[in-house]
């Protein structure tokens, strides 16, 4: 899985007034059906190796449907639909805030899915944004570093630990560079809303020369190999699927709160194969009925019972609130505060 590295033009793009170059395609594959009756064009931020089993299963249920799958970053996806008006039948993204903005600003078409009734109501917004995975932001700690020592279980403990022995952690903690990662920005802003501890933590991490990453993959690798003692706000679903092949790290869900990001699928207004797009939405919304696909893709399906079992899990809620941190001034202020805390050159 690949996690978005936002282009330098992000700020310009988010102001949505400056025309910019066409969106960047990172990967593309055509699943041709023979004979072909129609084509479903998907733009997605999820890597091909993640989505491949899902696409193949969906195609098997819909013979005659070719699938054109294009991988891009979260902001490029936004740009493709919001600015370039590129024609896609479906857009799948991990950036809930940007998908929300697409819905709010009228770029999506509605679909009253018959399977929506089985889902918790926080999983669907305006009949336009459909969540089909729930992926927590977690703390990773290195086995090599912690050994048998207990790892911190909440943010206050983490801050206390880092303050206690700064020399041990100097240069050995990592987190997202929120300026480059859409997911990092989303969870960081949600953290800042949820807890005062966030800014203290950023302060402490800044003093310890935290390393900044664009993507979960590299962070997991560095923790597993012991170069990092811990990494904060790593995408839990990805860490969990890495854990099956890689040793050397532990996944910790904080007990004070865990932000849970919802991966979403939307149908852009320009969709030319609405029927197939809606079928795909239904298919994804029923992912929980296909444990084989959940295992193969490593994408955890929507499961409200997890939230009942663990009260600290908090799904990030759809709604106009998500637009707040997309506000250009708000974003500028947030990044300035973040840089002041974390990037202490």
């Amino acid at each position: 899985m690949r996690f978005p590295c936002l282009a330098a033009s992000l700020i310009a793009f988010l102001s949505l007034s400056v025309a910019s170059a066409a969106f960047e395609i990172e990967d593309q594959r055509l699943y041709t059906a023979d004979p072909e009756r129609s084509v479903l064009k998907i733009i997605s931020t999820a890597d091909l190796d993640v989505f491949d089993p899902i696409l193949i299963a969906f195609q098997a249920e819909n013979p005659g449907l070719s699938i054109d799958y294009t991988v891009t970053g979260t902001s490029d996806l936004m740009k493709a639909i919001y600015v370039d008006g590129a024609q896609f039948d479906l857009a799948i993204s991990s950036a809930m805030d940007l998908q929300t903005k697409l819905a709010n600003d009228g770029f999506l078409s509605s679909y009253a899915s018959p399977v929506a009734a089985d889902l918790p109501d926080w999983a669907i917004w305006r009949d336009q944004v459909f969540a089909f995975t729930q992926e927590p932001a977690v703390l990773l700690v290195s086995e090599a570093f912690f050994g048998d020592d207990p790892a911190p279980t909440n943010r206050d403990e983490l801050i206390a630990l880092l303050r206690e022995s700064p020399e041990r952690f100097q240069g050995r903690i990592g987190t997202y560079d929120v300026r480059r990662s859409g997911f990092g920005y989303l969870v960081a802003t949600q953290d800042s809303r949820n807890s005062e501890a966030f800014w203290r933590l950023m302060e402490v991490m800044g003093r310890l020369d935290a390393k900044l990453y664009c993507c979960s993959g590299e962070m997991i690798r560095d923790v597993a190999e012991g170069r990092l003692a811990l990494a904060y706000n790593v995408l839990g679903s990805y860490a969990a699927s890495q854990k099956t092949t890689t040793d050397g790290f532990r996944i910790i869900e904080m007990t004070d709160f865990v932000n849970v990001m919802l991966r979403t699928v939307v149908i852009p207004q320009g969709s030319e194969n609405v029927e197939a797009a809606q079928a795909m939405v239904d298919f994804l919304l029923q992912l929980n009925e296909r444990p084989d696909l959940v295992a193969a893709s490593g994408l955890p399906a929507i499961d409200a019972s997890k939230f009942q079992a663990n009260a600290s899990l908090r799904p990030i809620r759809f709604g106009p609130g998500l637009l707040v941190f997309l506000d250009q001034l708000k974003r500028r202020n947030f990044l300035r505060n973040w840089e002041n805390s974390l990037v202490q050159e």
């Binding site: 007034s17 819905a103 709010n104 600003d105 009228g106 917004w125 305006r126 809303r193 759809f318 709604g319 106009p320 609130g321 637009l323 707040v324 506000d327 250009q328 001034l329 708000k330 202020n333």
Partner: protein, 457 residues
């Protein structure tokens, strides 16, 4: 009465019309009030949002800046999943937000939010704008904050209210209509009751109607009663007149007959005697007619207000036969009565029953040959039967149902004197007692057989 002038219908349609008007009025009022309330709620939340944004405006050296409060937009999701737009304009420049979101036509006054409903990005939106002065006293800037939201939530609420109001309005109308029907029927029930009281009466019942009536109908009832009173008076007068007239005719006729008989005896010439005999016969006819008319008038009068009493039919038959015995004896006719030993009780007017029986036996005597026999039987079966059979000429063949009409005589009478009222009287008496008169020939041999059939109690 034609359908167009039915009071019931008119009353019903008027009441239902009022109910329909009220239902519609109710519907409109609920609709307007509820929509105002819903709109007011959205306006309140929108202004709270705009004010929250305005309150977080700050001035820095570089100019006005804004730290958009999270709650300012998140509070707007309370109504529904509506789309939200905002724009902050300082000194004509868009500071942040949607640059194409229309500003209010007039710059709002400080502290006074202005509301507008407009179309934006393909949807109807409600927008609110507030103004706040920001900056140092030397360089105060008016900043306009506009927050807009689509009205889907409002429409959903309004649809719900419309559905509820329609349901309640229609329900009210249906109930009110049913009640109108009931009320119309209830209001007209006294009329039905009065109609019933009048129609249930027998043809000769001219007593005043005593049914209870509401005051509105009292004059009508009074008019009916007074009309019936006059009718009764007029009928009584007529009957009195007949009786009086008959009486007045009979007395002089008796004198004339006596004179005629004296004259008959004195006369020698057969043709003169014949003329006098014919005269006597005519006098007898007139006299009989007068007598029977008197009886008939009496029956009609008594039938009007029947004097009912317990009486023993066997005794009544016995008595009547006794009274007629002399007449029968003149013609050597024997009257035999067959009645059960025990008394046979009946409720009726004894004078009328006697008159009826007397007329039937009188016929039997009249239309029988001399030296014959008449049987009067009293039978108590399912009905009470007084049967008079004779050995006379009988009714002959053909229809004799007409014989009970007034002044109708049979073709078999020969030169026997009569007026044609006897069976009329008997028939009327039978009918006022709820019975019938059966006329026929004697089933076992010659002669007539006439029965007065009375219902058992």
């Amino acid at each position: 009465m034609t359908a167009g002038t039915s009071i019931r219908q008119r009353l019903f349609f008027q009441l239902a019309g009022i109910a329909a008007l009220l239902s519609v009025a109710f519907f409109l009022v609920v609709q307007v009030v509820a929509e105002r309330a819903a709109e007011g709620t959205q306006d309140d939340i929108l202004s709270a949002s705009a004010i929250a944004i305005a309150d977080s405006l700050r001035s820095e050296e570089s100019g006005v800046t804004l730290e958009l409060p999270y709650s300012a937009l998140s509070m707007l999701s309370t109504i529904n999943e509506d789309r939200v737009f905002y724009r902050v304009v300082a000194a004509g420049e868009t500071l942040t937000g949607y640059e194409d979101l229309p500003l209010p036509d007039e710059t709002p006054q400080l502290g006074l939010p202005t509301f507008e409903t407009l179309s934006y990005r393909g949807d109807e939106v409600r927008s609110v704008s507030v103004v706040r002065a920001v900056g140092p006293a030397t360089n105060l800037q008016n900043v306009v904050v506009t927050v807009a939201q689509t009205r889907l939530g409002l429409e959903a609420i309004s649809r719900r209210i419309t559905a509820t109001a329609t349901g309640v309005g229609a329900g009210f109308f249906l109930v009110a209509t049913a009640l109108s029907l009931w009320a119309a029927n209830l209001a007209l029930r006294p009329i039905d009751r009065m109609t019933g009281a009048v129609t249930r009466r027998g043809p000769k019942d001219l007593r005043p109607v005593l049914a209870e009536t509401p005051t509105e109908l009292a004059p009508l009832l009074e008019a009916i009663n007074s009309f019936m009173g006059r009718l009764r008076a007029s009928l009584t007068r007529t009957e009195d007149f007949i009786a009086e007239a008959a009486h007045r005719v009979r007395t002089p006729l008796a004198t004339v007959r006596a004179q005629a008989e004296v004259t008959h005896r004195k006369l020698q010439k057969p043709e003169h005697k014949q003329a006098i005999r014919e005269m006597i016969r005519a006098i007898d006819e007139s006299s009989r007619s007068a007598e029977q008319m008197l009886d008939h008038a009496m029956v009609t009068f008594r039938a009007d207000s029947l004097a009912v009493e317990q009486l023993n039919l066997s005794a009544l038959v016995e008595e009547t036969c006794e009274r007629l015995k002399p007449t029968a004896d003149i013609r050597d006719i024997a009257i035999r009565t067959k009645a059960p030993d025990e008394p046979l009780m009946f409720e009726g007017d004894s004078i009328l029953l006697q008159a009826a029986l007397q007329n039937i036996i009188d016929n039997a005597i009249k239309y029988s040959p001399e030296d014959s026999e008449i049987t009067v039987r009293v039978d108590a079966g399912a009905d009470l039967r007084l049967t008079v059979s004779d050995q006379g000429r009988g009714f002959g063949a053909g229809d004799h149902s007409k014989l009970t009409t007034r002044f109708e005589r049979g073709g078999n009478v020969g030169n026997i004197v009569g007026s044609g009222l006897g069976l009329t009287i008997a028939d009327e008496v039978a009918r006022v007692h709820g019975g019938t008169l059966e006329i026929g020939n004697n089933p076992e041999g010659v002669g007539a057989c006439v029965s007065l059939v009375l219902p058992r109690l």
